[in-house]
């Protein structure tokens, strides 16, 4: 006789504890096995089931009950093989027989800590609520008293400046006759004119070869053919050696982070560089996982990655949470900016990136006093990552809107709002409104924005969302082939297609930005800090961001 414990299955989880429940239709399934083969977590498996069916043969109905064993697709109730809802099964199913469905009542986080190991994942904060930047609307519409511009007819200059812009008062000008002249020995900090939406730091290694290549090709095409000067950050992990020595380097921002991965190769390639990079980003923090370092799992460190990063193959590559050789903000920021600037003869803008934090103003003030700091990027809590603890992603960090606004208004107070450009990141395009989010952040004071997750979703159809869908980036099992080094997975992704979509995204964004700026009557300069154009229907947000409340 079986024990009561076995009979009630009390030690097992029900499917209702799981975040996604597989809906499988026996009548449509041909038992081809494709779904179970592609499932990245092995959450479904072929199984057998005894079925009771009523059967009737003959000319007149003569129902009879029979039992038979049938082959079924069954969802596994092992928490470590939970269905992530990616939907790859439904993608490959020839008969639309299977689809995962989100279970809003799940208790996933109560159980996903077996062995005392906290839940880790990729993606962004699992909060599908509308973010502050998506609540902002543009309400200062030019009407009759100041006719709107025509997005189709007028010339628009949707560009921003990346680099330290000298104060007008400090420009070394002399008046000769009736003309201004620049003093011959005046030092002019390097400044790049770029499209105000950049592709944020995602490394080779975190991204698969076709994904990174697709992004890079798209960026090069946008610059060279479409005349949209989009720049892209490398993330930590260096750049391909051929790119370092190519004329395309000017579209890239190599990132230096706490692991310094790839920098041996970059520095050694310096004498052979024929172009300067667009800028150098020093990463001190990341919005998705503030205070956490980076980690590239050993199984992602294949030959190419090892070569680019200058490390042995198949070892975990951990970047510490902080730059270990630095002990103070003066060390961490000033000296690093200066030494990196010096490496390129002060011809390249060098700026830090920090995660959104209440202490951003302290960093900002330090940078404002450092004449070599070219900009500041602030990465808000809705930023994404390839790998982090769930608790870091969900609960750590600062929303970008108020953090950016505080920093901009502080710069206004100091009269340096034009001197030190702010770039905002984290959740831009979270709900798909890329241009509107970018425009809202610009009007709050950003000189530009960074995107990461959005471009993965738009250019490579990343499944991830804020209901913890997919989010397997950390495991190298990306079913789309975006964040994996497994050739069986990344061969699913076509780099040319990614590049094409990157071009689509930026061309669309440029048109949409025009459609936003035209009714506001702005076209010559980016409306940085034009907060009178913004409004929100939440009085608390309006008060906090110092914009108007509308209802």
């Amino acid at each position: 006789m079986e024990s009561a414990g076995r009979l009630d299955h009390n030690s097992e989880l029900t499917l209702l504890e799981f975040p996604y429940i597989i809906h499988w239709r026996e009548d449509r399934c041909t038992r081809c096995g494709k779904c179970t083969a592609v499932c990245p977590t092995k959450a479904i498996e072929p199984s057998a089931m005894v079925q009771r069916i009523v059967h009737s043969d003959g000319a007149t109905p003569l129902p009879a009950t029979i039992r038979r064993v049938s082959h079924v697709i069954r969802q596994v109730r092992d928490i470590d093989r939970h269905c992530v809802g990616c939907g790859t099964c439904s993608l490959v199913c020839p008969n639309m027989a299977i689809v995962p469905e989100y279970n809003p009542n799940h208790k996933f986080l109560f159980h996903k800590n077996r062995g005392g190991v906290p839940y880790k994942r990729g993606g962004r904060r699992n909060d599908p609520a509308t973010s502050t930047i998506d609540k902002l609307k543009f309400t200062r519409i030019s009407m009759l008293t100041d006719p709107a511009l025509d997005a189709g007819r007028h010339e628009f200059h949707i560009r921003t400046l990346m680099g330290r812009i000298p104060q007008a008062e400090s420009l070394q000008m002399r008046v000769d006759g009736n003309r201004l002249h620049l003093a011959d020995d005046a030092f002019i900090p390097p400044v790049r004119e770029i499209f105000p939406i950049r592709i944020g730091g995602m490394s080779i290694g975190a991204l698969s070869p076709p994904m990174w290549e697709g992004l890079a090709m798209g960026v090069a095409y946008l610059n060279e053919v479409e005349n949209i000067p989009v720049v892209m950050c490398s993330g930590e992990g260096g750049l391909p050696p051929r790119l370092l020595k190519s004329r395309y380097l000017k579209y890239f921002i190599p990132q230096i982070a706490s692991g310094y991965f790839g920098w041996d190769e970059i520095i050694h390639a310096l004498p052979e560089m024929i172009e300067d990079p667009a800028a150098i980003e020093i990463k001190y923090g990341q919005g998705a996982k503030p205070g956490d370092g980076g980690l590239l799992m050993a199984y992602k460190v294949l030959k190419l990655i090892a070569k680019i990063r200058g490390v042995p193959m198949y070892v975990d590559l951990a970047s510490p949470p902080t730059h270990q050789t630095k002990y103070s903000i003066e060390e961490a920021v000033a000296k690093m900016i200066q030494s990196v600037s010096m490496a390129w003869g002060f011809r390249v803008p060098v700026y830090p990136k920090i995660s959104g934090t209440k202490t951003a103003l302290a960093v900002l003030n330090n940078l404002a006093r450092n004449p070599y700091a070219a900009a500041l990027t602030i990465d808000g809590e809705d930023g994404a990552t390839g790998a982090a603890y769930n608790v870091s992603m969900d609960k750590m960090g600062h929303p970008i809107a108020s953090n950016l606004r505080d920093c901009y208004l502080e710069l206004v107070k100091q009269g340096k709002q034009n001197e030190l450009p702010l770039f905002a990141a984290g959740g831009v395009g979270k709900e798909g409104h890329l241009a509107a989010n970018a425009a809202a952040l610009i009007m709050l004071g950003a000189s530009g924005v960074d995107i990461g997750k959005y471009i993965m979703q738009a250019a490579a159809d990343c499944f991830g969302d804020e209901k913890n869908r997919c989010n397997l980036c950390n495991l190298g099992k990306c079913p789309r082939g975006i964040t994996t080094q497994d050739p069986r997975l990344y061969r699913r992704l076509d780099a040319d297609h990614v590049a094409e979509r990157v071009v689509d995204v930026f061309k669309t964004a440029e048109v949409e930005l025009k459609k936003i700026f035209a009714p506001l009557g702005r076209s010559t300069q980016l409306p940085i800090g034009m907060s009178d154009a913004l409004a929100v229907s939440d009085p608390a947000i309006a008060e906090r961001l110092k914009i108007s409340y509308v209802c």
Binding site: R140, S142, T145, D146, P147, L149, H154, H157, L161, I165, P166, Q167, A168, E169, L171, M173, V175, N178, R179, L180, H181, L182, I188, V191, E193, V412, K413, Q414, G415, K416, Q417, N418, L520, G521, R522, S523, T524, Q525, P527, I528, G529, M530, S531, D532
Partner: protein, 371 residues
Amino acid sequence: MCRLSAITASEYTSVMEAIMALDTMKEGHDGSGLGVTLHDLGGEFEQLKEYPILSGIATDEGKRILDDYMESQRFSVKFRWEPQITEVPGSEVTKRGHYLVVAYQYPEEYRDKPQEEKEALLTRTRLALRAAGEQAEKLYVFSFWPDVITLKEVGDPLQVGEFFGFDTKPLLARTTLAQGRQNTNYAIYLYACHPFFLQGYCTMTNGENTAFVPNRDYLLSRGFPGYTGYNSDSEVFCHTMHFINQRLGYPMHYFKDVITPLKDAEITQRPEGNALLLMKRSLRQLCIDGPNCIIGFMPDGTVFMTQDSKKLRPGIIGGVPGKYALMSEECGVDQVLPERNKDNDIIPMRYDFVTIAPGAQEVKVWNQLAG
């Protein structure tokens, strides 16, 4: 849309001429106010050119505040001019209080001070008076500067002119700026009325400035006490001109390069391309997108007109050597100078910055593309 009327001449002209010109453009404004600023004064003020003149409006209490403050700062009254207020039946202009045009003698300790210190004192005093009297609208101070008078009042410009008695006892000046106000999206508030004046720089503008907030925030953060107010989105033009010409020391035509910068490719064609590119970047927060026609004068009396580079508001300049009118509409120029050769009229376009030097002998058009 407001209407602008400016006259610059080698001889003194009556303020009423500019107001009559505004009246011909009546269809273009709703008569919700008149503002005039006069520079290089004639008549009773001709002999008082070195003495700062305070222009404003005060209630009885405001006047007490003014007198007490000026006394405490040891300014002494040199000459007091009062308009001959005529409240015409049927006119909608109502007397607000005392209309002040008072020439002061500098405090004794300032009389031999350098010009710069005197100017700082005048600005400081005006701002202190504005702060003291702004509450409950007890005291308005529009300008406090030698050889400059500013008057503003709500109502139809012609009626306001008659109200001030200008038809019988006009103020005379070589340069007159007058604006007929179209009250659009702001409540009528005298500090929001053009022309705006700061330390010898004066502008009036037609149109709205969509870049007002970035312009304002930039000026506010320059640390110069005179950059304040901003009850109108057009006040920034006066301060921008002051900033680039007085603070930065750039020749005045760079105002055009700051508010409507050329494209980078065009800038490289200019001889001073390098300097211009840097200037464009460093002053990008002062860039505008229009629509604006800006008319103003400089401390030396040079009068200018310029446009935004896309939408352009109406603006025309016509006249004869010795007298030129800068107006929103041709009918205004016709009113002032019917005998001129209209073929010589100038309608500034997107790249033009038009100036008329004191003496009003010729009109110069500076082209931004050519430099």
